[in-house]
């Protein structure tokens, strides 16, 4: 195990408030999507399960170190009565505070098979630099 003199600050989850969910929400119920969040030497990557959300219906914001995702679910025909009901359908919303300096000009996101992937490249200033040691 490596000694870490300076502890890395992990991204933290921010609570959804009515103010930040309500304007974008199209459904009555908003769900918290499942995410994978990891950091590589170059970037922070977030992968989020948003089944039933098209790429154009994802509202993704990165503002003052806060990443907010809102996915508007495409309405699909639903019955009034279920034989078996195990999950609900609604918009997805979640937000995270990213304590690492991000190069906002290089943000990239894509959706594939109902999974949203967001790439947050670290700013050159905060990337760890490898120092080459010369023998003399």
């Amino acid at each position: 195990m490596a000694d870490t003199a300076v502890a890395k600050k992990p991204p933290t989850e921010l609570c959804a408030t009515k103010a930040n969910v309500a304007p974008a929400a199209t459904s009555e119920v908003t769900y918290t999507p499942r995410v994978d969040l990891f950091e590589t030497p170059e970037e922070i990557v977030l992968q989020c399960d948003m089944p039933g959300v098209k790429a154009e219906d994802v509202d993704l914001r990165f503002e003052r170190g806060t990443l907010t995702l809102h996915g508007k679910v495409t309405p699909r025909p639903q019955p009034t009565e279920y034989f078996n009901a195990e999950y609900g359908i609604g918009d997805f919303h979640r937000s995270f505070s990213i304590p690492v300096e991000i190069d906002a000009t290089k943000l990239a996101a894509e959706t594939k098979l109902g999974v949203l992937t967001v790439h947050l490249p670290k700013h050159e200033r905060v990337k760890s630099q490898k120092i080459t040691v010369k023998a003399s």
Binding site: V29, R34, L37, P51, G52, K54, R76, A85, T111
Partner: protein, 151 residues
Amino acid sequence: MNLLAPWRPASTIWDEMNQFRQEMDQVFGRWGATAPTRPALAVSYPAMNLWEDDETVYVEAELPGIKLEDLEITVLGEDQLSVKGSRAACQPAQADWYRQERPCGNFERTIALPTSVVANKVEARLDQGVLSIKLPISPAAKPTKITVKAE
């Protein structure tokens, strides 16, 4: 909902259990009877919603990140549906993980259908991670309307 139902003394432990369950159902609503804004706890993966009309049984499941070719959908003995598949794990090299909530690996689930269906006419669609299966009800299982003649 009848809030002022008379209390009946229970005679056996089973009566008591049933009565308790009925009372709980009255308070919280019966499982499956309402729209899933308040879904029942899913015990298996994937969670499935199932409903039917006169012609078709509909099954829907959320399977984000899974390709159609990685799914195996089978109808067993006309009235059971099995969904089998796998989702690859996200394994980046040199990563520090902060959240890992998305499930990966193999899964298989078999559910009982409410009626028998025509297995060779089943349609499955996977759209943005939502699997919808349409299973036509077999003609033998459809209700027959009886015309009552007046004499």
